[in-house]
Structure formats: C-alpha cells, structure tokens
Symmetry: D3
Subunit: 290 residues, 6 copies
Amino acid sequence: MTDLDPPIRGLAALPSVARLIELALDEDLGRGDVTTQSTVGTDETLATADMNARRPIVVFGLDVAAAVFHRVDARLRVVRKAKDGDAVEPGAILLEIHGPAATMLAAERTALNFVQRLSGIATGAQRYADAVKGTSTRVVDTRKTTPGWRVLEKAAVVAGGCGNHRFDLGSGVLIKDNHIVACGGVKAAVVAAKARAPHPLRIEVEVTNLDELAEALDAGAEIVLLDNMTPAQVGEAAARAHARGVRVEVSGGITLETIRAYAEAGADLISVGALTHSAVAVDIGLDFRN
Amino acid sequence: MTDLDPPIRGLAALPSVARLIELALDEDLGRGDVTTQSTVGTDETLATADMNARRPIVVFGLDVAAAVFHRVDARLRVVRKAKDGDAVEPGAILLEIHGPAATMLAAERTALNFVQRLSGIATGAQRYADAVKGTSTRVVDTRKTTPGWRVLEKAAVVAGGCGNHRFDLGSGVLIKDNHIVACGGVKAAVVAAKARAPHPLRIEVEVTNLDELAEALDAGAEIVLLDNMTPAQVGEAAARAHARGVRVEVSGGITLETIRAYAEAGADLISVGALTHSAVAVDIGLDFRN
Amino acid sequence: MTDLDPPIRGLAALPSVARLIELALDEDLGRGDVTTQSTVGTDETLATADMNARRPIVVFGLDVAAAVFHRVDARLRVVRKAKDGDAVEPGAILLEIHGPAATMLAAERTALNFVQRLSGIATGAQRYADAVKGTSTRVVDTRKTTPGWRVLEKAAVVAGGCGNHRFDLGSGVLIKDNHIVACGGVKAAVVAAKARAPHPLRIEVEVTNLDELAEALDAGAEIVLLDNMTPAQVGEAAARAHARGVRVEVSGGITLETIRAYAEAGADLISVGALTHSAVAVDIGLDFRN
Amino acid sequence: MTDLDPPIRGLAALPSVARLIELALDEDLGRGDVTTQSTVGTDETLATADMNARRPIVVFGLDVAAAVFHRVDARLRVVRKAKDGDAVEPGAILLEIHGPAATMLAAERTALNFVQRLSGIATGAQRYADAVKGTSTRVVDTRKTTPGWRVLEKAAVVAGGCGNHRFDLGSGVLIKDNHIVACGGVKAAVVAAKARAPHPLRIEVEVTNLDELAEALDAGAEIVLLDNMTPAQVGEAAARAHARGVRVEVSGGITLETIRAYAEAGADLISVGALTHSAVAVDIGLDFRN
Amino acid sequence: MTDLDPPIRGLAALPSVARLIELALDEDLGRGDVTTQSTVGTDETLATADMNARRPIVVFGLDVAAAVFHRVDARLRVVRKAKDGDAVEPGAILLEIHGPAATMLAAERTALNFVQRLSGIATGAQRYADAVKGTSTRVVDTRKTTPGWRVLEKAAVVAGGCGNHRFDLGSGVLIKDNHIVACGGVKAAVVAAKARAPHPLRIEVEVTNLDELAEALDAGAEIVLLDNMTPAQVGEAAARAHARGVRVEVSGGITLETIRAYAEAGADLISVGALTHSAVAVDIGLDFRN
Amino acid sequence: MTDLDPPIRGLAALPSVARLIELALDEDLGRGDVTTQSTVGTDETLATADMNARRPIVVFGLDVAAAVFHRVDARLRVVRKAKDGDAVEPGAILLEIHGPAATMLAAERTALNFVQRLSGIATGAQRYADAVKGTSTRVVDTRKTTPGWRVLEKAAVVAGGCGNHRFDLGSGVLIKDNHIVACGGVKAAVVAAKARAPHPLRIEVEVTNLDELAEALDAGAEIVLLDNMTPAQVGEAAARAHARGVRVEVSGGITLETIRAYAEAGADLISVGALTHSAVAVDIGLDFRN
C-alpha cells in the first residue's frame, strides 16, 4: 500500500534526526555541487542506482538514507530492498534509487556516510551478541556515543542484537564513584536515590569490591555495576547479588575475546562502550546502472 | 589576558558547531540528571577536575569541550593545559575544570565524547603522516566524515599532520566515473569543467588506466586521481603526469602498511577515507580531585 | 561571588528552554515595541523595578525570567531576592531589575508570563503535597503538560513538594490498556516488557480489577497502577500488592478533596494530571520604583 | 477534494507553530517509546482511533493535532469529524485516526495535550462571550498568554466567540502608567504617540480617573482604557468618551460574574487576562476501536 | 559604563536577527578561511582596524556589525565611533575593531555586507525625507523588503528620517482591490473590517477614483490609499477626505523627482517601495592600521 | 510526470534556503493576516492568479516562490509557465497559482519579494554579460551579497549569464593586501599558500603594480587579481601574465560603461560587486483572474 510507505519515516521523522540530516546536507551540499553542475550540468537525465553491501553486514540506517535522498530532491524515489536489522551478504542490494542523476550524485555521499557508520555499529553489535549466545547475559551499550547521534546509534545497537542501557541522564539512576564520595558512602547514596528518584527508575550503583557490594545490597540497590573486575571476582559477586534478587552489570574494557568469560561468570548485563565509540564504517557502495 | 580567552572560541563559535553541541546536550541532559539530583541534590558543592590522557595521543577538540562545559553551566571555569594539536603522553592534563560539582558531572560525558573522537582522528592522522615522512607526499582526508561533524573532523585531521581534500561539493571539482559516463568521455568532461567551473577551482579527474590518463592530460586536467592502482602503476602514471606539470592523487583502500610504497612511487597526494570513517575514540578521562 | 551568578543559568541554559524563550520573544517583541518607541523613545533612561508576589505563592521560574531580561537587553541586571521553591507572602520581592527602562518594559510581560504560570504550578503542587502530609504517599505529575514546557513544568512540580512520574515515553515503562490488548493480556505484556525493556526501568502496569492485579503480580510487575478505583478498592489492592513487595500507584480524577483518602488507603504514589493541565497563573507584578 | 486537505494546514503550517510542535515531540518522543517497543514491538498492526469530547466543549486545535500525528508518522491518516470552533456535546467525535497502532500510541499524548488546552481556552471564551450577549460589548484577550503559544491561544479565543486585543508589542499602541510617567503626563504621551507611531495604529491610553480621562480626550486619544473602576465609574467615563467619539476599554480583575455589569455600563471592549492565563484543559480522550 | 555596552545589543539581540546573522556566518565562514589559514596561519597576531565611510552617508547597522565580529570571535573588541542614524562625511570612522587579525579578516566581509546595505537604505530614506521637508507629509516604507531582513530594513528607514507603514500582515488593516472584489464592494469590505478587526488597528482602504473615495468615506474608513493618481487628483481627493477627518496616503511609482508635488497636493503619507526594494549598498571600507 | 514536479525543489530544498523562507514567513505572516481575516474571512473561496512580468526581465527565483506558496498553504498549486533563466517580455506569465484566495493573498508579497530581487540580479547580470559578448572574458560576482542570500544570489548571477567567483572563504584562495602584509610580501604569501592550501584550490593573489605582478608570477601564482588599474595597465599586465600561462582577473569599480574596455584589454575575468550589492527589484505582479 503506497501511502503506507512515506519517504520520511521511522527515526528519520524525529525532529532531532531531521536536524542532524540538515546539518549534514548543509555541510556537503550547501554551496552546490560544482562538479556535476559544470559537467553533467542539467537535471534532465534520469538514472537508477543500487546501494549495495560489499561485505557481510548487519544493515542499519536505511530510513535515514531514504530521507537524505528525499530531502535533496523529492523526485528521487527510494525503494527498500532490505530492512534495518537484516544480516546480508556481499552484493546484497539495500536500496534502489530512481530519478534525476544530478541530484542522486549530490546526495550519494551523505546517504552513504549515514548508512556506513550505522551499519558498522549494527555489525559490530552482532559480533558481541554472538559472543554471549547461549548464556542469559545481555550485552548493552553506554552513553559513549557520537554527540548528536545517540538515538540513531542506540537503535543500531538493538538492530545488531544487543540491548540499550539508559538513554540519557534522565532515564536511569546510575550512582558512580563521584556521587558516592559526595554523599558520604554507598549506603547514603542508595538510600537517598531510593527516596528521591522518580519511581519508574531502578536504582543501580557501581561497586568496586565485595564490601561495597554488601553495603549496596543492604541499602536496597536493585542493580550493581561491577567495574574492572576479573571473571572470577564477578562470579563471586554475582552469586551474592543473585542471592538477594539483585541483578549484576559488568563493565570496563571488555572485549570480544574476554566477554564470554564474564557472561559465564554470571553477569546479567555487560556494558561495552566500544559498541559505539570504536565502531568503524562498513563498506557499502552506490552503483549507477548502465 | 583574560578577555582574550573567552569560554566559547575557535570552531566552537561556528553556528554549525553550536547546533551540533545543542543536539548533544539535548540528547543527554534534556531531561535532567536524575542520579545527581537524587543523590548529590544541590549545586552548592564546588569541585575541581582534570581531563587527562590515558594513552599517548594527539589532542583535538578542547575548544569544543570547553564550550560544552560553559553551555551546561556558565559558572564552570575551564583552564586549558594543552593546545589542540599537541602530542601528549599518558597522564598529561588537558583541561582543568572548576565550579559546581553537580553540573560538572552533568557535562562530563558529552565533553569527553567530543574530545575522545576528535583526538582519535588526530592521533590516527599523525600515524599516516608519519608513515610518509621524508617523502613529498601529503596524506589528505575525504568527504567520508561523520554527518554533522565535517568541520570538526577535517580540523582534527590537520591537527594530526595530514591535509584536507575538498571540504564539500562546492569547494573542489572532482570528476568521477559517473560524470565521465554522463558526459561521454574523459575529454568532454574535462573540457566542460574547464569552461564552466568557478575559476578558483582546479580541475581534477579520476582515471583508471593509462589511456584515460593520456586523455585527461590532453584535455588539460590539472590533477589526476588514480584509483585502485598498484604502486608500480602509480609510478608509471605519475611520471607521465609530472612530465606535463600535472599533480597525482592516489586513493583506494590504502593502509598504514601500504601507504609508503605509494608515496615513494610518486604520489603527490594520497587520500585516505579511513582517517575519518574508521577513526575510534581514544582513552581520555575526567578525574575529580580529592 | 559574581562570576558564580551568570545571567543565564539552571534550566534556562538548556537548549530546549532557550528555544522556548526565543519563540516567546519572537512572538511578543519581534516587531518592536511601538508604544515605548513612540513615547519614551530612547534607551537612555535607567530604572529599577521589583518583581513581587501579590498573593501567597510558591515561586518558580526566576531563572527563566532572568534569562528573558538578559536576552532582551544584556545591560539589564537582575538580582535574585528569592529562590525557586520559596514559599513567599504577598509583597515579597522576587527579583530586582536595574537598567534601561525601555527594554525593561519590552521584556516585562514575557518574563511575567513565565513566572506566573510556573509559580502557579508550584503553588498548586504544594497544596497537593500538603494534603497527604504525614502519610507515606508521594503525589506525582503526569505527561499531561503544556507542549514545549515539560522540563519547566516538571521542575515546578518538584519545587512545590510533589514528585515526578516518567519524564517522557523513553524514561519509564507504563503498560496501559491498549498495550495489553495488543499483547493479548496482562501477563504477556509484562513478560515481554521484562525481557525487552532497558534494565534501568521498572515495569509498571495498569490494572482495572483484582483479577488483573493478580495476573500482574504473578507476571512480575514491579509497580501496579490502579485507575479509577474507590479508596476501599485501593486498600484491598494495595494490601495484596504490598504483600508481594510491589508498589501501588493510583490515578483517575483525584482531587484535593479526595486525595487523602487514597493516601490513607495505602497508595504509594498518586498521579494527578491537574498539577499541570489545570494550573492557572498566580498574581505577580512588576513595579517601577519612583 | 483530497488534495485540498493536506495533513499540515492552517496555523499548523506557520513556522513558529512548527517549531513548537517540534519542541513538543522532542520532549516526549525524542528517546523512543520504550513501553510500546518492548510490548507491542512492531509497526505492523493497524488501528483506528477516535478522538472524542467527554464534556460539552468548544473545539480548537484540530489542525495542530493532525499535524502532530502526521509528523510522528506520515502513514497516520487523520479525518476531521468536527471543525475548529464547533460547540460539541459529550461523545462527539472530533478526529478519526487510521494507521499503525504503535506510532498512534506514541503521538496520542502530545496531540491531546494541544487540543485539550486550546479547547479549554475556546470553551472558556464562549462563556465570557455569552455573558455579554445582547450588549454591544466585545470581550477581548490580552498578552497574558502562554509563552510560545500566542498565535494558537489568540485563535482559540476567537473560536470561542471573543476578540483579540493587540497581538504583540508591535501591533498596537497602548500607553500605560509607566509610559505616562516617563513622558511627563498623559497629554505629552498621547501627543508624542500620535506624531510618531505608525499610522495604521490607533492611540490607546490607560487612565485611572476622570481628570486623566479629560486630558486624554483633549490630547486626541482614540481609545481609553479604564483600569480597576467600578461599573458606575465606567458608566460616567464612557458617557464622556463616547460624546467625543472615543471608544472605551475596561480591564482589571473582571470575572464571569461581574462582566455583564461592565458591559451594560457602556464598555465597548472588556479585556480579560483569565481567558488565557487561567484556562484549564478540557477532557478529551482517544479511544482505539475494537 | 562598561557593562552598559554589551557586544550584542539592540536589534542584534532579537532572535530573528540572530538567526539571520547565523545564516550569514554559515554561508561565508562555515568551511573556514583557507586563505588566511594557509598564509597568516595563526591567531596570535593582534590588529586594529577602522570601519569608515567612503561617501557621505546615513549610518545604520553598527549593532549588527558589532554582533558579527563578536560571534566570529568573542575576543574581538568593537568600539562604536558613530551611532546608527548619524549622517557622516567621507572618512568618518564608524567602528574601531581590536583583536586577532585572523578572525577580524574572517568577519570583515559579512559585517560590511550588513552595514553597506542598511546604510544604503538609511541614506536613500534621508533623500526622500529631505524632498518633502517643510510639508506635513510623512514618507513611509512598504512590505516590499528583502525577505528575512524586515525588522532591520524598517529600522534603517526610520534612521534615515522616514516612517514605517504596517510591519506585517498582522499590524495593519489595508483593504486592497482583491479584498474589495471578494467582499462585493468598498462599503461591504470597510464595514466588515470595522466590525471584526482588532480594535487597535485603523481601517485603511485603497480607492482608485472619487466614487470609491465617497463610498469609503461613507462607510467609515479612517485612512484612504490613493493609488496611481496625479498630484491634481490627489489634491481633490485629499480635500474631500480631510473634510471628513480622514487621512490620505498616496502610492504608486513615486520618485524623488515627483514626490514633492504629491506632498504639496495634500498627501498625509506617501509610501515608497523603492526605499527598500531598490536600495543599493553604499561604500564603506575596513582598513587595518599599520 | 506529476511526481517529478514536487512543490519544493531545487535550491528551495536546501536547508539554508528553507531557513530563510521561514524567517520571511515569520516576519510577514506570523501574526496572521488581519485584513483578509476581517474582510474575506474564510478560506472557502478558490481563485487563480498569474504572476507576470511588467518589464523585459531575466527570471529567477520561481522555485523559491513556489515553495513560499506551498509552505503557506499546501493546497495552493503552482504551475510553472517559465523557467529560471528565461528572458521574457512584459506580460509574460511566470507562474499560475490555483487554490484558496485567502492564503494566496497571504503568501503573495513574500513570494514576489523573492522573485523581484532575484530576477533583478539575473536581469542585471545579463546586461554585464552582454557588454563583453564576443570577447573571451567572463564576468563574475563577488562575496558582496546580501547576508543570508548567497546561494540564491549566486545562482541568479549564473542565470543571467555571468559566472561565480568563490562561494565563500573556504572555496577559493585569494591573497589580498592584508595577507601580504602579514606574511611579509607577495612571494612569501604565495609560497605559503601553495604549500598549505587544499590542493583543489588555485592560488590567486591581488597585485597593485607590475613589480608585484612579477613577484607573484615568479612565486607561482596561478591567477592574478589586478585592482583599480586602467585598461591600458591591464593590457600590459595581462600580456605578461598570459606569457606565463597565468590568468588575469580585474576588479574595482568597473561599470557597464567601462567593462568592455577591460575585456578587450585582455582580462580573463572581471569581478563586479554591483551584480549583487547594487541590484534592484524588477517589476513583477500577481493578478487574480476574474
């Protein structure tokens, strides 16, 4: 049904994403495309192009790419051949674009830059999700995202099979070392948060050793974050927390190589900043058909 | 001189960067900081914190970080202990921040996210620049930047010792395969561009073999871009181009391992998308002083 | 300490609040102040004015008012004589403003419109908080806020002594009737949410009778929302929920007259849309000194 | 005719209203809808919902609500079953919405928040208009509107049967006490305004007693504003003003109970700040059809 | 007094002007200043420059120019040596700018572009005002302004000694031919407007002959606009209108050569679109001191 | 093909142009159209109007005008009867607009203001282009454009047959007197720029006499800008530059009367600030059909 497939939809319809797309178009196209204007020089020629994967990837960002083409030229028609979250093989066509060649060329780089980075995140997230497969652990992201991109990057993480930690400073209580110092201890901080935080939010607290863990559990923490512990230490801490019905999150430089040991040690959640702060673009191209 | 050091300066004063910072603050702080509010709970406590490097890095983004702290709370005073472009050792202090602890905590993550990514780009660029040291080759970036971040990322590339290719579609003529097809050949495209492009811009054209190179040179191209050639092929092409006073740019999957061979083969310029599209965050922390 | 008191601070520094203030100034001052220009006609005359309460109120919005004066004319100096959250008597001075009379007149109405509405909310919230004093119940707001004003209105609610429910659709899981229908029942919905929602968020579900309550408790709901029940029904439901360690929220047309009965019946939380959707401006004036 | 009914039209097409709608969507939906995502979890399910009145009301804001649904998801189709300004009975359907259930749920609260407040203003305005029915008095609004909402609230006032005073500081000359003091008296102020104000604007001046009234009339005022007078005083003043062909506006704490006496005393215009600053939301719901 | 002279003040503080300045900086500086960066290459060098008039002009736009320098680099200090509205001789210094040479060069063109156009308007307006000197006629502008610039251009017109017509479609009632057709005649249109327009606005109607004039006067028009009449026709019409206490505006291709005849014929107001739509930049330069 | 003719297209789709259009609609329509509302008073009446030329002009800005009508009311249908760049005779119809009369009236002035100024620039540019016809000289614009309008004005210059100089400070290297002073001479400046500027940009340098010219040529300048020279001086300088394969640009107060002499003297490029800074509106009207 055609009118159920508008050119701008999903995350691309959010005002904050629209503003990011505007920034992106301003910076690349704001002064025209002098190469196309001085060579091709007209918008009469129509073309068809395929956006396709050059490597095995998990796709994300197609709605954003479609919005980019649409905003550059509403005459460009984008047909989705894959869905966000699809794992595809090299050569897989993700989008078909039909319309004036001149404006398709002008939009190409910006559209690709979005999809390449977001698919890079989704593809990396899938590797982490696979690494804990069969355990009850969920790998989650952090707030270490690219400024301006959080809603997109967090959605890409989910598309790759991982989960989201708190979206921002307003959607989760996470008491860290500095808060503990300022409150005079783990117990005081947890008690204050339980009394004053909005009730939809669980109280999570970072602990660095078993004494602090005990204090957190006694104070009523609902989640404990174990930072920079070994799998063995995590195992011990998790056993104590689980005995009290408290969930355990683990963080701190965990890699694809080490993550499974933490999962098997009993971590309910493992947060990995690298999912976003060390993501790299994957190879996706746009080919004009002859 | 105090009034020569305003809290918002340099790139952070550009309207487009200001908009990106606003997007970043909206997404992380727009709904408050429930943890700090429910534990520390007041803005009376003053603190001092140090932003410092955890690894050897080339620093970039300090102006942006300072602007972030200032916009969250104009009472936060930021003292620069390093300059953008400095290569520093682990432990080096980059910024000192003084002021209310509550708002410093609220701004910390956003400020770090900017500096970590931009310093990651500068640090990576330095490696590429070092790899061609002693040759006459300049390593340059591409338009494969993070949408919304181009002006920042291109400045980080320069801070790391590499150079900039065209900023956008309006500040350079680069005739690629699709333009050539649409114009009916290399010669027609180059001639059209020479006649019609704004005169401040040189005419660069991508060629894929020696026949196209000859055609480009005959048509008056001023720079030729050799894509996906071997160093040996580049050597032959560069000799022919240089004989005509034409500069040679090389691109296509060039890595830190392979770049020097291309430089020694005679490339005047080597463009590397990975400078930006595969940059990862470097480890930078913020520590409150006791 | 002067430089710890910048003219724009607190919530007024948030990008979203800055945008609302810009909308407000655009709509009132965007075409000049023809009355002042055609009568007073110059900005040379200096004046001092007092913003003061005409009724007993809880004050909120002084940071926003100060920002309004500052943005209209940075020469206007605003001295705070009260703090957000103060309960003051009629005649109490809230702000002193010094500077050019012409621009003070131009900013007056917009500044007052902000403070009058926000203080109206804080004042009303105090009445609700007082009505449950001595019980363990917390009165909380809803998402029925004035579009564009949520962060301000929710802060005003806290200033009046009530608490905040979820800030937005991303900072709380609240399963309502339509979600239940779509999922095929209370149990299915709760189980799905527990498995898939971000872990910092508790799972709250709306129930309309004791059968649904039992189903919700069995499924592991952490908070139950009882909608449109009598105090007696709430008492029964609360007893069952508390026995399972589950918190109880009550909502649905609860007024100042009826709220205490619900609190005494065992509600942990009572959410009141009227805190924001039926708030009215309180009387605050601005008087120029002779 | 379908293409004469675009989803965004009327006031909702104004840039300032579009910005307010963006602020509203940012604040509620900017971080996703975690409840729907974790329970319903897909946008495949289609639904139909009715927005309907729960009380007798004058409707206003349907164009804004339609724009909200459209911006959240362009696939949501909104059918208007009532027009702005209609007085409807409880149960009356205002809008029908068809499309994906998930995004309809996401947009519901924001759309309702707009319509409930604006219909509240229109409904209240109708009461004031009814109170002076049969007299020649027009009830008008003031600049005491919700910052950011003026164009919407003033249109709602008209929909309820009252009129608009000046839109902003640029569309009316209203000389008040402070201007008079600064100019050295009523006469000097009126004469200055007549000489210097843009000619499309009438000169209105606030007077507080009969002496000032005489001075205003002698100076050529075209409208006099009588503030805080009794109906008897208004009667005397109106007789004198009308004898000179000058219109009379009355203001100052006038309520539904007292307004008719002022109208019958001869006021041409009565301005009522409460039309906007004390408006409360009316009860409007959104029900999904089974 | 230093803190009464903030770098951004007056019209430059309006949100709409701030947005225009941002557009201007984005378009000229958004991609850096490659010339200065590649030659001067540092922001260490300090300089002093004088902005000065090259011709006799009426100055306008200095607040905007100062804001431009301040936004590009808050370290640039701008000292006003003239005031908006001053008539100055060639060589007169308007602004002194002190600070880093690199950013002063970057801001120079944008600052000059604003001042040159606005001073051009003020200078032209002065010629029109002089042309009617000694008569009781006021020359006023129209809505034929540069889109995005209205508030600035209308202020420049006043600085040159002319007056403003309505600011926008909301701050004046001007019934033109199309409205008359749609209402079925002059009388019907005027009567409708008198009954329904906001009371702060006078009712002005365009008439094209003496019959329409009589109809307008009978219907109670307060201002009549005579379009494209000869001075003799204006004289006759003005006599009839003045006899009824109605003001007369004249418009339609009136030039510096013909305007005095219309003024002497009795026009109270003469509106001249050319004040803004045909204004040209005046010669103003920026010289660095040795 | 209907869906290849969207209402917003071309330059009007650029984010920066969209922002300028929003500023323009805000300033004229943001407070409603009180005349139409109080007379015509409804949006039921449909009308057809023709935008037509009153003088021989080169048309530019039709895409912007169409976007203005569309944004005011998406029901207004705009049919293009001419193309940007067309030279048309008086009476030529440029656009036909169909739809509600009320909103067509509201959008009319803003749409015309855009087209009149941009067509004025295109028309003026054509005169300059004609003046050098038959020579090999290209007339180009400068950065002396209306702030906020650069992308539109530069496109209008091209539509009139002239060319563009650099778009902004980032898309061309133009070393002027101040850079030369700061670098210690022409040679030092040119050498620095050649070493450090992005390679897509040619190095242009301003010289004021033959000695500087020689220095520039020796240093490797690719374009020389001769400022304020006579045609004879230009002839001599051009001969020397051309002998070195260097292009010659001429600038400085060149008028329609003097330009041909400079062209014939050998200037490759002549830059004319008056193309934009002294452009005036051309006469274009909008007539409703009976």
